[in-house]
Amino acid sequence: MTISQQKRNEHACNICAADANELIHVDCASHIYPDGSLGIHGMCFRVLEKEIVALCGPNGSGKSTLIEHLNGLLRPTSGSVTVMGKNIDLSHADIWRDVGVVFQRSDDQLFAPTVLDDVMFGPINMGISVEQARTEAMGALKAVGAENLSDKMPGYLSGGQKRLVCIAGVLAMKPRVIAMDEPTSDLDSLHAEIVENIILNLKKNHGISIVVATHDLDMAARISDRVCIVKDGSIIAEGKPSSIFYDKNLIEMSGLRQPKVVQIYEGITKNLGIVMENYPITADELVKTIAPMIRQN
């Protein structure tokens, strides 16, 4: 089990700075809100090409604050954020083209009178013609399977549909990275699955890197290539889901609970007093791990 447990020192980031396929690099950034509360603190984080990164952490740990730093909505009080090689402090105007954000509450994001208007908003701001923007927007709506909603009023959509439209609105700008803040928290399991599939699909077919902040560790385990555990404003551990989620101390110390699958597997192995060999993190993997154990005995 190898966890790249980052020490909270200033050089933590320099190690990885040379990475060539790095899209976003947050270098020891801190953000103090005007009222003095600490949003993030000594946060080091990066997003590579074509990967899905999950940010997991308890309420108030700084996930949303970090996400707002990724496209320049917030500026670090100290430290720096580099997006596609550009420091956001120096050249911020274009950052929003590279990094799209899907906010925690869909309602905040949907403001135009119709779905199509809303999805076209980003492309038009990029300076392309209205006709072209319409094409882009319809393409994005299609990509999330919501093309039949284009004439609807956003206020009348269901929670799941709103979420799809929000994703389309960001997708229409063809960003390199999309950051999503708890994209499935108010969705039923079917809609959550749809969103999960869209996330996987965005990476596979569009080559987009995705950052997902979530409380749902089971989902994080299913979709992410890399998990970052956020606590008190910084990342205290990161690594593959299979190594992070099997570190019970780490997870509990961060104020979380292990994913169901992991709890069950650990429960079984502990109950039997046997040593873990595999580290299943999805339901399928767990079944594949356990079934032979029963059979072979």
Binding site: G36, Q109, F111, A112
Partner: protein
Amino acid sequence: MNELSPHIPDLDLITLYSEKGTTLFSRISPWTKALMLVLIILFVSIDKSLILAVCLYLIVLALYRLSCLPIKKLFQWYMMPFIFVLSLVLILMWNEPGNPIFSLSVPYFSLTLTDNGLLLLLTLLFKSLATVTYSLFFLMTTKYNYFSAMIYRVFPSPIDQIFLMSYRFIFMTLKMVDSMIKALRSRGGGLLKSTRRQSKMFAEVFALTMIRSYDRADRVNKAMEARGFNGKYVAATRIPGIGFGEYFTMLVAATMAIYLIWFVKLPF
């Protein structure tokens, strides 16, 4: 509320100071501070002297400073009051009878700034800054629950109910507006495009703010009726009473003010 203007007092910051404050001024009775506010308003309305206005301003500024409140922010927040004073007086201060200081004449038109004109501007400015500073001092040293209890005592129903609820809702609405504007900016909406496009975008934000306030009022009302709301709710915080020392201080202050205004002759 970083998406809103830096020159408008940030309610979250104000509340933070008022909740965390530990100085003497956070401990004295809110009623005392309210009565002092009335005294100050009376003072600036009666006083005609610039010197007294400046003195009052300096005293209030000292109070503000002594309560460990942020001075730099205060000066940022002066912007709107400045504009209000200037927009009123900048036009009226010309051509006042008095000794000319500065004169500008173009064909058909002449402007003269006299000493009285300048005095007018300065006096009004300092009076206004004194009350502004005191208001902010009052806000930032008095706990939110005291304010709510005072509102409940002072205003008749249903004004008190509307007032109290809106006091709470303002924070929610500001948060909502803040996140809406953030979401717009994240898709390139904050930049200056054509005036028309820009006004349309803000109009849509305003419309949504109204619509969502409406929906929210609906939900809040439901939640209240679920707990038996019958048109009246009570703010039950006990407000500390006015102490003897506080009465005494107010009496002294009032006496001094009366003496200074009516019995002392000041050059201006």
